[in-house]
C-alpha cells in the first residue's frame, strides 16, 4: 500500500521535503503513519512534532483526502490516499 | 576576562521584554523608566538593545566631578557611590552610548551592573529570542568568525 504525505511550513524545514511517499505492507492506521514518519525523519521526533507511543503533537493534524481527522489517530488509511500534515493552529 | 552584554540585531524583535525584566530585577517595579538596558528601533527593520559597554578608560568615570563613579579593575563594572553622587548628570552626557539613567524622584544615577549577584543578567534570561548574551570580546570574535566563514562555505557549496 502506498500513500503520500504532504508537508507545510515548519514541517518542510524539519523534513527538508515538500512531500513523502510512504509504503506499507498491508493496512495501517495513522499511528502507523506517524511511526513511519518518525523513522524517516527523526527531526520530527527531536522537535516534538511526533511524540512517544506513535502520537502526534496537538499542534498538528492529519487530513485524509481533504477530511480533517481530529486527534484520534485510529483512522485507517488506504492505498493512494493523499495525506496532509497541517498545523492545527489557525488564525491571522 | 571582562564580560559584557551584546545584542544580536538579527535575533532582536524589539519586544522590550529586556527593559521590563531589568526594571523588575533592579527596582522591583513594573516601571519602564527604571531600565538600565534600552531597546531601540533604529529603522523599521532594525532593532536592538544596548547597555553599558564597560569601556576601557570610561568617559563616565573621567567626567564625574565628585569621583562618584569607579570601575572595578577585574570585571570592568561601573559602580556608583550613592553618597558622593549629586545627580549633576555630567556622566549621562559623557556616556557615548547613552546608557546611564537619571530618573525623576532619584538624585543619583543608575548604570547596568550585569545584575551583580544574579547567576545570569535578568535581561539575558528573559530575552525570548536569545538575542542577548553575556559574553567576552574573545568569544564575540570567535562566534563572528565561525558565522561569517560558515556563510562563506555555504555559498561555495551552493555555487
Amino acid at each position: 500500500m502506498r500513500l503520500t504525505v504532504e508537508f507545510f511550513g515548519l514541517l518542510r524545514q524539519l523534513t527538508g521535503v515538500n512531500e513523502s511517499q510512504l509504503e506499507f505492507e498491508g493496512s495501517v492506521d495513522l499511528h502507523g503513519v506517524v511511526e513511519e514518519l518518525g523513522r524517516r525523519f527523526p527531526r520530527l521526533i527531536d522537535e516534538g512534532v511526533i511524540l512517544q507511543d506513535r502520537e502526534l503533537s496537538p499542534s498538528f493534524v492529519f487530513s485524509i483526502n481533504g477530511r480533517i481527522v481530529a486527534q484520534n489517530l485510529n483512522a485507517r488509511v488506504a492505498d493512494n490516499d493523499s495525506l496532509l500534515l497541517i498545523s492545527a493552529i489557525w488564525g491571522g | 576576562m571582562k564580560q559584557f552584554i551584546v545584542c544580536d540585531p538579527n535575533k532582536c524583535v524589539g519586544c522590550q521584554i529586556c527593559e521590563l525584566a531589568c526594571a523588575v530585577e533592579k527596582d522591583g517595579l513594573l516601571d519602564i523608566t527604571r531600565t538600565r538596558i534600552f531597546s531601540i528601533r533604529v529603522e523599521p527593520s532594525l532593532m536592538m538593545s544596548v547597555t553599558c559597554r564597560l569601556c576601557e578608560s570610561p568617559t563616565c568615570v573621567a567626567s564625574c566631578p565628585r569621583e562618584a563613579l569607579s570601575q572595578d579593575p577585574d570585571t570592568g563594572i561601573i559602580r556608583v557611590d550613592e553618597e558622593a553622587c549629586v545627580g549633576c548628570g555630567w556622566c549621562v552626557e559623557a556616556c557615548e552610548f547613552g546608557v546611564i539613567i537619571q530618573e525623576p524622584g532619584k538624585t543619583t544615577v543608575d548604570i547596568c551592573d550585569l545584575c551583580n549577584g544574579r547567576s545570569v543578567p535578568a535581561c539575558v534570561e528573559y530575552c525570548p529570542k536569545d538575542a542577548l548574551t553575556l559574553t567576552t570580546p574573545v568569544q564575540v570574535g570567535q562566534q563572528t568568525r565561525k558565522e561569517v566563514l560558515g556563510e562563506l562555505l555555504q555559498e561555495l557549496i551552493e555555487a
Binding site: F8, L84, I86, G91 | V13, D31, R41
Partner: protein, 613 residues
C-alpha cells in the same frame, strides 16, 4: 487598585475639555477591559441612531486588564464606536507600545466625543491632556504622522495612534495605525476619527504599574513566555499566518477571484513558504510579546522596488488570491499603500475584487475606471485603485463606500457577489466548505469576521464535519464567540491561546496575581457571554433585525467551485437551521432578540431600563 488604574479619560473635542471618570473594581470585573470595557463605555456614552460620521458618534478605547505588566501578549487595546461601514458595532483591536503607554499614563480607557473645529491631535502626557493643532499633519501618511509628532515632542517614549489620508477623507473602511505597523483595521474607525478632525492620539505614559504579586506574576509570565517558543506558536514564528495559504489551497478552501474559485493556481507563489525564502526582511514583535509574529516583507527589484509591509494572511488573501494576484511584489506594495493611507487591507481587497468582477461582467467599462483594466490578476488595477479609494477620486469615490453600498448603488445584480455580511467584507476562509464558520460569519455582531467568531476552528480541526449543517452547531458557534470575547476582554492576543494547558484556569491566576481580584473560571466564561450579548444589544439598539444575519447570495446559490469537495452546497435552509439553532443556544427569541431574563442573568438588567426610557 492593582494593575487597573480605575480611571477613564473622557475627552470632549467640541469643547476641548477633558475629565476623569472613576471606575470601581466590581464594574471592571464584569467587563475586564479591552472589547468588553470599550463596548460598555460606548453603550453608556452614546445615543441611539447617531450618524457614525457625525458629531454624535462616540469612540471608546480600553486596554486589557494586564496592560503595562510583563504578562506575555497582553499589550493590546480595543476601540469601539458605531461603524460607518456597517451601522452596527465597530470594535477593533490593535497592540504593542501604544496599549501599554495608555495604562502607564494612568488610564484603563478613554471616551472621545464631539468634534474638533480644526484638525487636532490629543497629547495624553501622563496626567496632562493637551489639545494640539494638527493642521501641518493633516494630509500626512500614518508613519510620517507618528514621526512628526514624536519629533515635535522630542521623546522616543511617546507612542502615537493616527489616521492617514483615508481616515481624513472618511473612507468607510479607514483604519487607525499605531507604532509603525500595527492597525486597528476593521469597521472604519479611522473614518470616525477623521469625522471628528482627530488626526492622532499621542501618549506618554511613564508611571509604574503596581501589581498584587510581582514575583508570582513574573514567574508565571516567564513560564508562558517559554511555552510561547514551542510548537503552538510555530506557524506564527516560522512563516507567519501567511502559512495558511498552501493548506487552505490544498483543501480547496482558498477564496480566489471574489470567491468564484476556491483553489488558486498561483498559491505556491503567494505562500508563506515562498515569502520566507524570497521576501522576508525581519520579524518584529509587539511590545511585551515573546511570540513575535509580525513578518515584514520587502520588494527589492522591479517597479515596486522598496515597498515594505508586514504581511499577515488576511492581508495576503484580500490583496492576492481574492483579486487573482499571484505575485508578492504587487501584494506587498498594495499592503504598504494601505498602511500609509490608513486603509483596512481586507475591506480594500475584497471591495476591489467586487469591482474586478463588475468590470469582467461589463458592469463597469474603461470610461468608469479612468481606463484602468479591472481584470482579476491585473496588479496595475489593484495599485491604481488603492490610491483612488484613499483619495476618493474617480471610481474610488464609489469603492470608498465599501462593497455593500457600492453594490446597492450600482445594482445590476452586483449585490449577489458583494462579499460582505452587514457591510463588513469576508475573511479568507471559504464558507461553503466550513459550515460552522459560515454560521459564525452570518451571526457575528460586527459583520463577517473570523476573528470574533473563531468558528472555523472546530471545522478546521475536524472536531465536526465541516461539510454538514446540523443542529448543535449553534452551541459550538456560541462557545467559540464567547471564548474570543473573553480573550478580547482580558486581553490576551489570540496567537498565544494555544500555549495554555487550561486557558481559563491559568487566565484567572494571571488576573489574580496582577489585580489581586478573585475571578472564578465560571466568572471568566460569563464575561465572554456577557460581552457578546452586550454587542448584540448595541446592534439591536441601532436597528438590527433578523434579516441582517445572512450570507451573500453567491454562497447560497453557487456550489463550492473547486477542490476535493467541489460541488458542496450551502443552502438557505441549512443556514436558517443553523441560525435558529444559534439563537436558541444563546437563549434569544426566534427573532434573535435578547429577552430581559437573559440580560438579567448576565447582570445587564440596567439595559432593560435603558430600553424602556
Amino acid at each position: 487598585m492593582y494593575a487597573y488604574t480605575g480611571r477613564v479619560l473622557h475627552v470632549d473635542l467640541s469643547r476641548q475639555e477633558s475629565h476623569v471618570e472613576v471606575l470601581e473594581s466590581d464594574f471592571l470585573q464584569k467587563y475586564l477591559g479591552g472589547v468588553g470595557l470599550a463596548t460598555r463605555l460606548l453603550v453608556d456614552n452614546s445615543e441611539p441612531a447617531c450618524d457614525p460620521l457625525g458629531e454624535g458618534n462616540t469612540v471608546a478605547v480600553a486596554v486589557g486588564a494586564l496592560a503595562g505588566t510583563m504578562v506575555p501578549a497582553s499589550g493590546k487595546h480595543a476601540l469601539a464606536a458605531k461603524s460607518p461601514l456597517t451601522g452596527f458595532i465597530g470594535d477593533s483591536l490593535s497592540g504593542s507600545y501604544w496599549s501599554h503607554a495608555l495604562r502607564r499614563a494612568g488610564y484603563d480607557g478613554m471616551v472621545i466625543k464631539g468634534r474638533s473645529a480644526q484638525p487636532t491631535y490629543l497629547f495624553v502626557d501622563n496626567e496632562y491632556v493637551l489639545f494640539r493643532d494638527a493642521e501641518n499633519l493633516w494630509g500626512m501618511e500614518s508613519f510620517a504622522t507618528e514621526e512628526a509628532i514624536r519629533a515635535e515632542i522630542d521623546d522616543n517614549r511617546v507612542r502615537v495612534a493616527s489616521i492617514g489620508v483615508a481616515g481624513e477623507k472618511l473612507v468607510r473602511y479607514a483604519c487607525i495605525s499605531n507604532d509603525r505597523g500595527r492597525q486597528a483595521g476593521r469597521t472604519g474607525l479611522g473614518a470616525v476619527w477623521g469625522s471628528k478632525n482627530l488626526k492622532a492620539i499621542a501618549v506618554r505614559g511613564t508611571q509604574p504599574i503596581p501589581v498584587a504579586d510581582l514575583a508570582g506574576l513574573d514567574r508565571l509570565s516567564l513560564e508562558l513566555a517559554e511555552a510561547a517558543q514551542g510548537l503552538p506558536t510555530a506557524k506564527y514564528r516560522v512563516t507567519g499566518t501567511v502559512g495558511n495559504v498552501l493548506t487552505l489551497n490544498r483543501l480547496g478552501l482558498l477564496p480566489t477571484r471574489n470567491l468564484r474559485n476556491s483553489v488558486f493556481e498561483c498559491a505556491e507563489e503567494v505562500s508563506g513558504e515562498y515569502m520566507q525564502a524570497n521576501y522576508k526582511e525581519k520579524t518584529v514583535a509587539c511590545s511585551g510579546c515573546p511570540v513575535a509574529c509580525e513578518q515584514v516583507a520587502r520588494v527589492r527589484e522591479g517597479q515596486y522596488d522598496g515597498a515594505r509591509a508586514s504581511v499577515d494572511y488576511e492581508t495576503l488573501y484580500a490583496l492576492g488570491p481574492c483579486c487573482g494576484i499571484g505575485d508578492f511584489k504587487p501584494i506587498i506594495k498594495a499592503a504598504d499603500l494601505c498602511d500609509r493611507y490608513g486603509l483596512d487591507t481586507m475591506s480594500t481587497g475584497v471591495t476591489i475584487a467586487w469591482a474586478m468582477e463588475c468590470f469582467e461582467r461589463g458592469i463597469f467599462t474603461g470610461s468608469d475606471t479612468d481606463g484602468l483594466e479591472l481584470n482579476f490578476g491585473n496588479h496595475e488595477a489593484l495599485i491604481g485603485l488603492i490610491e483612488r479609494i484613499a483619495l476618493r477620486q474617480g471610481i474610488g469615490e464609489l469603492l470608498s463606500q465599501g462593497s455593500k453600498r457600492a453594490s446597492e448603488e450600482v445594482g445590476q445584480g452586483s449585490e449577489k457577489f458583494a462579499m460582505h455580511v452587514k457591510g463588513l467584507e469576508l475573511p479568507g476562509y471559504e464558507p461553503r466548505g466550513l459550515k460552522t464558520y459560515a454560521l459564525g460569519l452570518a451571526v457575528g455582531t460586527r459583520g463577517a469576521c473570523h476573528n470574533r467568531s473563531l468558528a472555523y476552528e472546530p471545522d478546521m480541526k475536524g472536531q465536526v464535519d465541516r461539510l454538514k449543517a446540523e443542529k448543535g452547531r449553534g452551541r459550538i458557534a456560541m462557545e467559540c464567540e464567547d471564548l474570543a470575547a473573553t480573550l478580547d476582554c482580558l486581553m490576551f492576543c489570540k496567537f498565544i491561546r494555544g500555549c495554555f494547558k487550561d486557558f481559563h484556569e491559568e487566565a484567572v491566576e494571571f488576573y489574580r496575581l496582577a489585580t489581586g481580584l478573585d475571578l472564578t473560571t465560571q466568572d471568566l466564561k460569563q464575561v465572554g457571554e456577557r460581552v457578546c450579548n452586550l454587542k448584540k444589544y448595541f446592534n439591536i439598539r441601532e436597528g438590527w433585525t433578523k434579516k441582517d444575519d445572512w450570507l451573500p447570495a453567491r454562497l447560497l446559490e453557487e456550489p463550492l467551485p473547486d477542490g476535493g469537495d467541489k460541488g458542496t452546497t450551502l443552502t438557505p435552509e441549512e443556514l436558517r437551521l443553523m441560525i435558529d439553532d444559534y439563537y436558541a443556544a444563546r437563549g434569544w427569541t426566534e427573532d434573535g432578540l435578547i429577552p430581559p431574563e437573559k440580560l438579567a442573568e448576565l447582570g445587564l438588567e440596567d439595559l432593560t431600563q435603558k430600553a424602556r426610557q
